[in-house]
């Protein structure tokens, strides 16, 4: 407790002594001469006072338990009883709320009883007809000094400090017919008192009255009603007022639709903004847990609100619902969340279509999504409802402008400027319209009128004029543009798809099932067939061999996707189907395993069929075979066949019985895979592609135009 050292006294709860000590030390550490010393001394002083107060209240609470007042007489008299010197009597009687003065006067020897001063008669002429300012001074009745001359010397001791404090905590006492207060304030007569009839005296009454006012719509928007409430008696008692302030946020969170001026009144009275943000430590009020209400409250204070008066005459069943939609709509529109805005505003409109502010909002929304006709209707209705306000006309002019109706836009602009000559927005719009109408000279004049700088504008295109910050309507939100974009996308997809289709090699479509190779004879070349083979003998190939050849450019590789039948059925060797490329053609070759997995080796093929027709191929094939047959190995064992894989999608060509002239053993089995697209289908593809291109291009152009319009829209307001 080093602070006692600074004060140079021993620890005490005697506040007077502490103050005396501090005063004495202050002379040694004058704030002007010794700032650091003063700071330390002052801190010591404050600490000592706090100590004394703590000890005092601890003592008090003890004595309360024991039922005896700590100081005899009034409970709650602080340690510093008023001084009993011959000089001024200071009546610092402290009342607790449940102590009535009338009951215990003069009980304590320390404190003189409350003196109620005699009245100054209400119609004392000297109080009424003073003319100059300086004559209106106040004197407690027991003063026998003369009224001072204005500006007189200060050394004449002023009248003693006036009347005793009133027990304002017991606000209820006033209900007993005026009471002390009226009598002690002679010149604050009935006519001076604020003429508020419904006077609330308790916090509960206040909150109840507030709810009443809110629930009755005409009262809710009446400034006078709220002002009366905020000036009622309970509000002038600080403790009660704080209590109300603590309860208000919860109250207002449920009743949040008030005109801006009422919010301002409440803020002026309670300072809720600071309280919500910072909390109120002394009242145990935490910074608001409900940030959405805090944000809402601040928004009500900062931004100009929508009007409530036009709703007075509306027959809306659920007013708060309407207001909620309207408010949500406004906020969403401000944040450009057009979906939400549209929904909310339309719902509000369904409830009440004649609210001028709502019409403005709804019209603005419709303008942004490109529904010009609807927007125009709204603004015209707005003009009907509020013909003396410029907003409706301005918006109408804008709508006409964006719809391309420049002449009409011009007319309205001129009308606006005739009535509201200072409206620069309309002037600008007028100038723009004139430009679009080709009347550049007039447009130039208008610009000059706007800015008074002719030269600068002669060379500048209109778009470069000074503009307020553009509001961005994302092009994705404009319905028209969206539709066009969709079409373009679809067309692109189609084009690509068709293209791929026409060029594709892959075989789509169901293959025609055949049961034997002989059926192929009757089929067109290029037909896709499927032959389910369970047995090589289905091929009716007879014995066949396959030759592997060396040193050719063909690369064969094993296709491992094929499954195999039970090898016992068909012999020991597993057949494989090999894919090969030969002279630019893709082939499938059936043979027994020639290569191990993933091995590559060049093989010479035995032959192939090409588009030139089987005959020619046969010849070359025959040649090859014969050539080979003479000097190469032969595989005498029958090849077994893979199973499911043998449902080969491919074109099988084989040699007809004519070929057998070449010998029974040489029949190769070559399977060709061929591009199946016929010329016809290619032609069809081309047509389809062309159509898609045309449609796509059209949508592209339209979409771009629409985008351009919305960009211009963006630039306004």
């Amino acid at each position: 407790m080093s602070f006692w050292k600074w004060l140079k006294i021993s620890p005490t709860t005697d506040v007077k002594a502490i103050k005396r000590a501090y005063a004495a030390q202050l002379k040694l550490h004058h704030p002007e001469d010794d700032p650091a010393g003063y700071q330390a001394l002052r801190e010591a002083f404050d600490a000592a006072l706090a100590y004394a107060k703590r000890k005092e209240s601890a003592a008090k609470s003890e004595s309360e338990f024991s039922g005896e007042p700590a100081n005899g007489g009034f409970a709650g008299i602080p340690a510093e009883a008023p001084p009993e010197k011959g000089g001024p009597k200071l009546l610092r009687v402290v009342y607790e709320p449940d102590v009535h003065t009338e009951e215990e006067p003069g009980k304590s020897p320390l404190v003189p009883p409350v003196r109620i001063p005699p009245l100054i008669p209400a119609d004392d002429p000297s109080e009424r007809e003073t003319t100059g300012w300086n004559r209106r001074t106040f004197f407690p009745p027991d003063s026998d000094q003369d009224p001072e001359e204005p500006g007189g010397s200060v050394l004449v001791p002023p009248p003693r400090l006036p009347l005793p404090p009133l027990p304002l905590d017991t606000v209820n006492e006033q209900e007993q017919g005026g009471g002390l207060r009226d009598r002690a304030f002679p010149e604050i007569e009935n006519e001076d008192r604020l003429p508020y009839i419904r006077n609330c005296h308790t916090v509960a009454e206040f909150m109840q009255r507030a709810a009443e006012i809110y629930d009755y719509f005409p009262a809710r928007i009446s400034r006078g009603e709220w002002l009366e409430l905020l000036n009622s008696d309970v509000m002038w008692n600080m403790r009660f007022k704080r209590e109300i302030a603590v309860q208000l946020p919860a109250f207002l969170a449920e009743r949040r639709f008030l005109p801006t001026e009422i919010w301002e009144l409440l803020e002026a009275s309670f300072g809720l903004e600071e309280m919500l943000n910072e909390g109120d430590a002394t009242n145990g009020f935490e910074p608001s847990q409900d940030p959405s209400f805090t944000a809402y409250y601040i928004r009500q204070l900062r931004t100009p609100g929508l009007r409530y008066e036009p709703l007075l005459s509306a027959e809306i069943l659920n007013m708060d619902l309407y207001l909620d939609y309207r408010d949500k709509g406004q906020q969403a529109l401000a944040e450009n969340r057009l979906e939400t805005a549209g929904r909310a505003l339309q719902q509000a409109y369904a409830l009440f279509p004649d609210d001028p502010d709502l019409l403005l909002l709804l019209g603005e929304y419709e303008l942004r999504v490109g529904e010009d006709r609807h927007a125009l209707a709204r603004f015209e209705r707005r003009i009907e409802l509020a013909p003396e306000e410029s907003d409706g006309y301005v918006q109408k002019a804008r709508t006409l402008f964006f719809s391309g109706r420049f002449a009409e836009a011009e007319d309205i602009c001129r009308f606006i400027l005739a009535r509201w000559p200072g409206h620069t927005g309309s002037k600008l719009l007028l100038a723009q319209s004139l430009m679009h109408l080709g009347r550049e000279g007039e447009a130039l004049h208008t610009y000059e009128a706007l800015y008074g700088q002719a030269a600068a504008f002669a060379s500048q295109p209109p778009a470069a004029k000074k503009r307020p910050e553009p509001r961005k309507t994302a092009w994705t939100q404009n319905r028209k543009i969206r539709n066009h974009a969709l079409v373009v996308l679809v067309c692109l997809l189609l084009i690509v798809g068709l293209f791929i289709y026409s060029k594709s090699d892959s075989v789509t479509g169901a293959p025609v099932p055949v049961s034997s190779l002989h059926q192929l004879e009757d089929m067109e070349s290029g037909t896709l067939v499927s032959l389910e083979l369970t047995d090589l003998r289905d091929l009716e190939l007879g014995k066949y061999t396959f030759l592997t050849l060396r040193d050719e450019e063909v690369v064969a590789y094993q296709d491992a996707n094929y499954a195999f039948l039970n090898p016992e059925k068909y012999g020991s060797a597993d057949a494989r189907v090999y894919q090969a490329n030969f002279e630019g053609k893709q082939l499938a070759v059936v043979s027994k395993p020639l290569l191990s997995e993933n091995e590559e080796r060049t093989v010479k093929v035995a032959g192939y069929i090409d588009t030139l027709g089987p005959g020619k191929l046969r010849d070359s094939l025959a040649e090859v075979l014969i050539r080979e047959a003479s000097g190469s190995r032969e595989y005498a064992e029958p090849l077994s066949w893979g199973s499911a894989g043998a449902a080969i999608s491919g074109v099988l060509s084989w040699f007809t019985a004519e070929d057998q002239e070449l010998g029974p053993d040489w029949i190769p089995r070559v399977i060709e895979i061929r591009n199946p697209r016929g010329a016809d289908s290619i032609w069809h593809c081309m047509m389809a592609i062309a159509i898609c291109v045309i449609i796509g291009l059209r949508s592209l152009i339209l979409g771009y135009l629409e985008y351009g319009r919305s960009v211009r829209r963006r630039i306004w307001f």
Partner: protein
């Protein structure tokens, strides 16, 4: 050498000095105690100050500036004729005029003064006041806050008693609440609060707005003259409502005459919203002093606007006692300032009273808060000196780096009460180099010192290296160096000030012109004749004649004035 105490008010200014019989107000060249805080430019480019300028605010509003105290410390420029003045320049003209009055009265040179400022004036505004004084050639060692000055002028006699009182100061433009305690020769300010934008003028403004709206006057398109005339009507009406039960406002534009009569009840309803605003600063001051209204012994009213009966009744309602307004509410502050001069000088005739004041705003810096889970968020306000701390005071706090390898720390200096710095006032920045290190290992000591004038000095020390950096907060650093003040002083010296000795006659002329403006038709001709007559006599340079004519002229103007009030 004598020293003076000056009350530089929004609407009126006064100057006082200490005599062994107590403080005395020094009258100006026109013999009155109050000098209106108005500056005007005469047709011959002379600067006019005071009542003359106030008259001219009606006749030549574009050449006149008033209520510039509200803009002290801001960049606002007043365009008066061909000159452009800042609020400090204008205040310096007032101060210069008061200085001249004091010198004439005391017959000696005055170089030093104590000037009063609203308790709620922030650092920038106080500096601006000091600059204005420098420009007027006055050295100001001490700025005293107005409510303290008023308390001092009351408290002089209550030295034995142990009193707690609240000073309720509603001036032309500002509202200050101060709670003081007086004991054992110590006058201690416990707490202060206020509203810098609430004053008597606002009460006039609501009458004006009501008149304009109710009668449908197109205010926006009115000329400056018409607006001044309207304002004057509102002011007269306000005074009338204070004295009696009704007030009236009349306005003529072209051939249309607008008239509105109000009674007191209506006025109170109109003023209701302003009255609500009075509550908050009072509550805050009481809260900060940990007092309830019942703990106060007295409530003192100062400031002209407290003459309004509605203010008195509001005060009575809030405190349950009659307020105390013995000393002329307009003069209390100047008298207190003069007392303060004497106290500072430890004048022998004055029993020693030590005055301690508090700072009105919380001062701190911006910090980054680290939450559980490692999240960090910046923009929080760390108070270093809380509001209502006794001054002079010096407090230091240690701050640590947040990021690794920071090479410098920039300390933002903020003033305000919010937890978030974005809601507080940014006074300046101070950057200091620190050795690079991982986060949290380097620290700086940040010391805020509030001197007895309420001027803030910030000192930053790098703990490791001991390097220090100091800054005295200036809103526009470098703009008001001593050299620049000197330069501006030289500039202003070249301006012609209307000579003191001719101010009486000048006032008569200005008054005449004003009455001319306000009058209609036939009476105008009459006034014009009077003015011409007087000018003719003035031109004659005959002292005797001038005096006689001046008296006559004044008499006639007085009767005219009374007439126009009907």
């Amino acid at each position: 050498m004598a020293k003076i105490g000056i009350d530089l008010g929004t609407s009126n200014s006064l100057v006082a000095h200490w005599t062994e019989n107590g403080p005395v107000i020094i009258p100006n060249s026109l013999g009155s105690h109050l000098t209106p805080s108005v500056v005007s430019l005469d047709d011959n480019d002379e600067i006019l100050v005071g009542q003359i300028a106030k008259e001219r605010s009606i006749t030549h509003p574009h050449l006149t500036a008033s209520t510039f105290k509200r803009y002290m410390g801001t960049d606002k420029q007043y365009q008066i004729g061909k000159y452009s003045f800042s609020p400090e320049d204008l205040s310096s003209f007032i101060l210069r005029s008061l200085k001249a009055d004091a010198e004439a009265y005391l017959n000696e040179e005055i170089e030093e003064a104590v000037i009063s400022v609203p308790a709620y004036f922030n650092d920038t505004q106080r500096k601006a006041t000091l600059r204005a004084a420098a420009l007027a050639g006055l050295h100001v060692e001490r700025l005293i806050s107005e409510p303290t000055a008023a308390a001092v002028s009351y408290g002089l006699h209550q030295q034995e008693a142990d009193t707690r009182f609240l000073v309720f100061d509603l001036g032309g433009g500002t509202f200050d609440v101060s709670i003081l305690e007086l004991f054992e020769g110590v006058m201690q300010v416990q707490s202060i609060a206020g509203d810098n934008y609430l004053g008597g003028e606002d009460f006039t403004d609501i009458l004006l707005s009501y008149f304009v709206e109710n009668q449908g006057i197109d205010f926006v398109n009115l000329s400056g003259k018409a607006r001044s005339a309207l304002f004057k009507q509102a002011e007269t009406c306000k005074i009338a409502l204070g004295n009696g039960n009704t007030g009236e406002m009349v306005f003529t534009e072209g051939d249309k005459t607008y008239r509105l009569t109000l009674d007191r009840n209506q006025y109170e309803q109109l003023a209701g919203q302003l009255l609500l605003r009075l509550r908050n600063p009072i509550e805050r001051a009481l809260r900060d002093a940990s007092l309830a209204p019942k703990d106060l012994d007295a409530v003192i009213l100062i400031g002209g606007a407290t003459r309004m009966p509605i203010i008195k009744s509001v005060v009575s309602k809030m405190f349950g006692r009659l307020p105390y307004s013995n000393i002329n509410p307009d003069e209390a502050v100047a008298l207190g300032a003069a007392i303060q001069v004497a106290l500072k000088d430890r004048d022998a005739s004055l029993q020693e009273m030590i005055l301690t004041d508090v700072c009105p705003f919380t001062l701190g810096t911006d910090i980054i808060k680290r939450f559980d889970g490692g999240r960090i968020e910046d923009g929080y306000f760390l108070p270093i000196i809380e509001r209502n701390t006794p001054i002079p005071v010096s407090k230091v706090d240690r701050l640590y780096t947040v990021h690794d390898n920071q090479s410098a720390i920039t300390v933002g200096i903020y003033q305000g009460e919010s937890r978030r710095v974005e809601n507080n006032v940014h006074l300046g920045d101070l950057t200091i180099q620190i050795p690079m290190a991982p986060a949290g290992e380097q620290s700086i000591d940040l010391r805020y010192t509030y001197d007895i004038n309420g001027v803030l000095e910030v000192e930053v020390t790098t703990v490791k290296t001991g390097e220090k950096k100091t800054m005295i907060i200036e809103k526009n650093p470098g703009q008001y160096s001593p050299e620049q003040i000197q330069a501006r002083l030289e500039e202003l010296k070249h301006l012609k000030i209307h000579p003191r000795d001719r101010s009486e006659n000048r006032l008569l002329l200005a008054r005449g012109e004003r009455l001319y403006e306000e009058a209609l038709h036939e009476r105008r001709e009459y006034i014009a004749d009077l003015i011409l007559e007087f000018e003719r006599v003035l031109a004659s340079q005959n002292e005797q004649e001038i005096k006689k004519q001046a008296a006559l002229f004044k008499q006639k103007l007085d009767s005219l004035e009374r007439w126009t009030e009907f």
